[in-house]
């Protein structure tokens, strides 16, 4: 038979303590969690968090019952040197029925609220929602407001208190629209229109990220949902619809930037106007719309800050920042970059 020394086992309690401490250290975490799913700011999000809480506590209950049962059995029925041969029991129908019904009951307690929540959040937003079209591209977000005729990118501005329905689709591969604090995610499928409805009820800037693997820079496809008060939102809409400063009011550096923007380069796909659109300047649709780009919270879909240095770094070598970026490395001169930065930052 097998001999095993008891000493190896005495270390167990110490090891368990170390393990618990380490885990607590991990959980005793640090700063704020902008993409936490625990404090939603929409009734849709609260439905999800509430249901999670319910299932979580049922889970803790089952966990305690099973794990305590296992630990108790291990301690109570450890092989003792004088232990006699156990009674060979093969089964016990009453017990079997009991522990089939028990999980079944728990499942009912979880399934009923689940189905209720599914149907409650399945309907379209109640009264005339703000329609926003969100189109996923390989590795940035296009947002359109048909109601206001605005096309923007990577910043989703929403008014507080008004229901919003986001129409989701994709221009290339599958992406997934997810702002944890505004509620659950929904896939953006090419060739199909999905809908996500919610009503943001508190002002703030909420981080979002693509949640379906979409290629090389899936990790760099981030965005912000910015919820304003009703009148701030109206101000934002007005700003978006207002024209940029007229060309002649630009400084000479900014005008050189505009010229560089308009320059047709070789190959033609390297020219800015081929992909980007700016009011009365260019009509490209392959890349993000650059109207009022200076006012955006981030650059390159949430990866860079909206600063001159970051913009210059981006123009110099986009692929270094976003691997696989479809924006080519044009090899602009330092002078062109400075001019372009000046011009783009003038688009308030």
């Amino acid at each position: 038979m097998i001999r095993y020394r008891r000493s190896a086992l005495r270390a167990k309690p110490l090891v368990m303590l170390a393990f618990a401490a380490l885990l607590a250290g991990a959980v005793g975490c640090q700063g704020p969690f902008p993409q936490s799913t625990f404090d939603p700011t929409t009734s849709f999000g609260r439905d999800l968090a509430g249901l999670f809480g319910l299932i979580f506590w049922w889970g803790v209950g089952v966990f305690v019952v099973v794990e305590v049962g296992v630990v108790y059995v291990l301690i109570r029925f450890r092989a003792r040197p004088d232990g006699e041969q156990p009674v060979p029991i093969h089964g016990h129908t009453a017990l079997e029925i009991a522990w089939t019904l028990a999980p079944a009951m728990i499942i009912v307690f979880i399934a009923v609220p689940t189905i209720q929540t599914i149907w409650r959040d399945a309907g379209p937003a109640a009264d005339n929602p703000l329609e926003v079209q969100a189109i996923g591209h390989q590795w940035w977000w296009e947002f359109r407001y048909p109601e206001y005729g605005i096309v923007t990118a990577n910043d989703l501005h929403l008014p507080q208190g008004r229901a919003v329905t986001v129409q989701l689709t994709s221009a290339d591969v599958i992406h997934s629209f997810w702002v944890p604090r505004l509620g659950g995610k929904r896939d953006m499928l090419p060739g199909r229109n999905n809908r996500l409805s919610f009503t943001p009820d508190s002002v703030g800037e909420f981080l979002g990220q693509c949640a379906e693997f979409c290629g090389l820079s899936h990790a760099n496809m981030r965005f912000r949902a910015i919820v304003h008060t009703a009148d701030d939102f109206a101000a934002w809409v007005a700003a978006q619809n207002s024209p940029h400063a007229s060309e002649d009011s630009l400084s000479t550096l900014e005008q050189q930037g505009l010229a560089a923007f308009r320059a047709v380069r070789t190959p033609a796909s390297n020219s800015c106007i081929a992909c980007h659109a700016i009011q009365n300047v260019s009509f490209g649709v392959l890349g993000p719309n650059l109207n009022h780009v200076a006012g955006r919270s981030t650059l390159a879909a949430g990866v860079l800050n909206n600063t001159a240095e970051d913009l210059a770094a981006w123009l110099r070598d986009p692929a270094a920042i976003k691997p696989g970026s479809l924006m080519p490395t044009i090899g602009l001169s330092q002078q062109e970059i400075t001019a372009l930065v000046a011009y783009l930052r003038s688009l308030r």
Binding site: I2, L9, V15, L23, V27, C29, Q30, G31, F33, S36, T37, F52, I55, G59, V62, F63, V66, V70, L74, F77, A79, P86, V87, P88, I89, H90, G91, H92, L95, E96, W99, T100, A102, I107, I110, T114, I115, V173, I174, S176, W178, P180, G184, K185, R186, D187, L189, P190, G191, R192, C210, A211, E212, F213, G215, L216, H218, A219, P323, G324
Partner: protein, 607 residues
């Protein structure tokens, strides 16, 4: 081809034939289920370590925010190959190693129904694994995820050979799994010892039987999906082309129609192993044997009706969401019943916490956590926050690492003496267990929180602003601990081959038939095919008829054959031809396959 292909079948007479088939050639042409089992086990464990290495690199890259240790392309290749390797090249073949070695012994058979088909399965698996991993040499390792969702995998968005390597590699592995499945189903149905009724089969054989039935029905679905993908990439068909009206969700439906039964293919064998280990180390029969068997069947059947719970975020509408979430929760019941039966098995027993038992108990503890976290996203509303985040990564690893791998480790420590004739060292075993147990929890438990705090899956980096740096670091430390613990296991393997305690017939005092003969078993397994009269033959008086040490009359043992290997090479050549789109290679491969199938069919090979 003068000499008959099959080396003359040796007649294992008095003392067990000196293994005429020793040497490398003996192993290449072996058709002995025991040797094929060892080949499967060694190859699978090597791929398991490779997969573990990939996981380590992933964790190192994710240890810090905005880390630049590993670039995006390499990271995508690593997590794709980690997933594909662990599912198809580690867990499934390690289970297959036990199917091969243990099932014939447990049901009282001399070998599997079709020994050469068995060898063919192994060689196709090995060549498939090498084909898949050779992609690293060409810098074109698959990078579309182990799920390879359409139209990212289309030629337009994945122009390189990466996805072709992945799709063709999985086709080859599919052939190996299907061939093995037909073999084991025929073996279990038709080659049981007299008296071994179906309800007297050991639970490991039962769970393997259900697994093979799922393989037979699930693998054709992924084969067709992969054909669609490869035709789209090579011949411009329009299955997943949005412009031509194709639906990208077709791939997800077909993949998960195979994918969910696949996860039961991964877990049922481990449940079978645990159901063998628990009674032996509690000195008590398994509690509720028929209930565990029927629960296994129920899981196998309901497993087919739930696949779309992987797709709650694609917006299938409330009806489909309600149906799939309810049926998914239904599966928790038979699984829960199994766990209660295992605990009841230990209740009132004389529990010896040897290493196999430690891993079996860890299976129960960790699989329960995985099951509970699974129910948490069985409900679509909560799943909208959890799917594609690290919460699901935690769930997966609690059921696959905490479940399948712990079960398989329990099986390795339990059956090692029977396979190699020497026991593994208990002290090293316990060190390995505790480091794996702690490493596993330190790595994967924080991932529940990392996921709920908003970190999506498959991101090669994340911003510091998410605040998840510290927890990711802890998870990486856990992963390093896990990696280190595997070294102890490998050392234990080496140590036991030199100094391990010599194993008798039944070192653990178990009840099933595989412990009735010497360790390692003679080449003919049973000198006389015994008659079995109980579910626990070695624990009940007169449970099995006497098995003499020496066979009364010489037992014919079929010789080796190299046609399975040649056929496997033919398949490999065909798929290399498909990969590089060379018609001659493809036709050449088919010719080699056809010739070897004919030679194989007409080879003098008496069972």
């Amino acid at each position: 081809m003068g000499a008959p292909a099959a080396t003359a079948g040796s007649v294992a007479g008095a003392h067990g034939a000196a293994d005429a088939r020793s040497g490398v050639w003996g192993w290449i042409t072996t058709t002995d289920h025991k040797r094929i089992g060892i080949l499967y086990g060694v190859t699978a464990f090597f791929f398991f370590l490779l997969g573990g290495l990939e996981a380590l690199l992933i964790r190192l890259q994710l240890a810090r925010a905005d880390n630049t240790l590993i670039g995006a392309e390499t990271f995508n290749q690593l997590f794709t190959m980690h997933g594909t390797t662990m599912v198809f090249l580690a867990i499934m073949p390690m289970s297959a190693a036990f199917f091969n070695f243990i099932i014939p012994l447990q049901i009282g058979a001399r070998d599997v129904a079709f020994p050469r088909l068995n060898a063919f399965s192994y060689w196709v698996f090995l060549l498939g694994g090498l084909f898949l991993n050779s992609s690293f040499l060409f810098g074109a390792a698959p990078d579309g995820g182990w799920f390879g969702y359409a139209n990212l995998t289309s030629i337009q968005y994945s122009p390189g050979m990466n996805i072709s390597f992945w799709a063709l590699g999985l086709q080859i592995l599919g052939i190996a799994s299907l061939a093995a499945a037909f073999n084991f189903i025929a073996t279990i149905i038709n080659m049981r010892a007299p008296g071994m009724k179906l309800m007297r089969l050991p639970v490991f054989t039962w769970m393997s039987f259900i697994t093979q039935l799922i393989v037979v029905a699930a693998f054709p679905v992924i084969t067709v999906a992969l054909v669609f993908l490869m035709f789209d990439r090579m011949f411009g068909t329009t299955f997943f082309s949005v412009a031509a009206g194709g639906d990208v969700l077709l791939w997800q439906h077909l993949f998960w129609l195979f994918g969910h039964p696949e996860v039961y293919i991964l877990i049922l064998p481990a449940m079978g192993m645990v159901s063998e280990v628990l009674p032996t180390f509690s000195r008590k029969p398994l509690f509720g044997y028929p209930v565990i068997v029927y629960s296994g069947m129920l899981i196998g059947v309901i497993g087919w009706a739930v696949w779309s719970h992987h797709m709650f975020a694609t917006g299938m509408g409330p009806i489909a969401d309600s149906y799939f979430s309810s049926v998914t929760m239904l599966i928790a019941i038979p699984t829960g019943v199994k766990i209660f039966n295992w605990i009841a098995t230990m209740w009132g027993g004389q529990i010896r916490l040897a290493t196999p038992m430690l891993f079996a108990v860890a299976f129960i503890i960790l699989f329960t956590i995985g099951g509970i976290s699974g129910v948490m996203h069985a409900s679509p509303p909560t799943d909208l926050q959890q799917t594609d985040t690290y919460f699901v990564v935690a769930h997966i690893h609690y059921v696959l690492f905490g479940g399948a791998i712990m079960g398989i480790f329990s099986g390795i420590y339990y059956w090692w003496p029977k396979v190699f004739g020497r026991l593994l060292d208990e002290r090293l075993g316990k060190w390995h267990f505790w480091l794996v147990f702690i490493g596993m929890n330190v790595t994967f438990f924080p991932m529940h929180l990392i996921g709920l705090l908003g970190m999506p899956r498959r991101v090669y980096t994340y911003g510091p602003e998410l605040g998840l740096e510290q927890m990711n670091l802890v998870s990486t430390v856990g992963a390093l601990l896990l990696g280190f613990s595997m070294l102890i296991m490998v050392y234990n393997f080496w140590w036991s081959s030199k100094h391990g305690e010599i194993a008798q017939n039944n070192p653990w005092g178990a009840a099933t038939l595989e412990w009735a003969m010497s360790s390692p078993p003679p080449v003919y397994n049973f000198s006389v095919i015994p008659e079995v009269r109980s579910r626990l033959p070695l624990w009940t008086v007169g449970g099995v008829t006497e098995i003499p040490d020496v066979p009364p009359e010489p037992v014919h043992v079929p010789g080796g054959s190299y046609w399975p290997v040649v056929a496997a090479v033919g398949i490999l050549v065909f798929f290399i031809g498909a990969l590089v789109q060379s018609l001659w290679l493809a036709v050449g491969g088919v010719l080699v396959l056809v010739v070897s199938v004919f030679k194989w069919a007409f080879e003098p090979f008496e069972m």
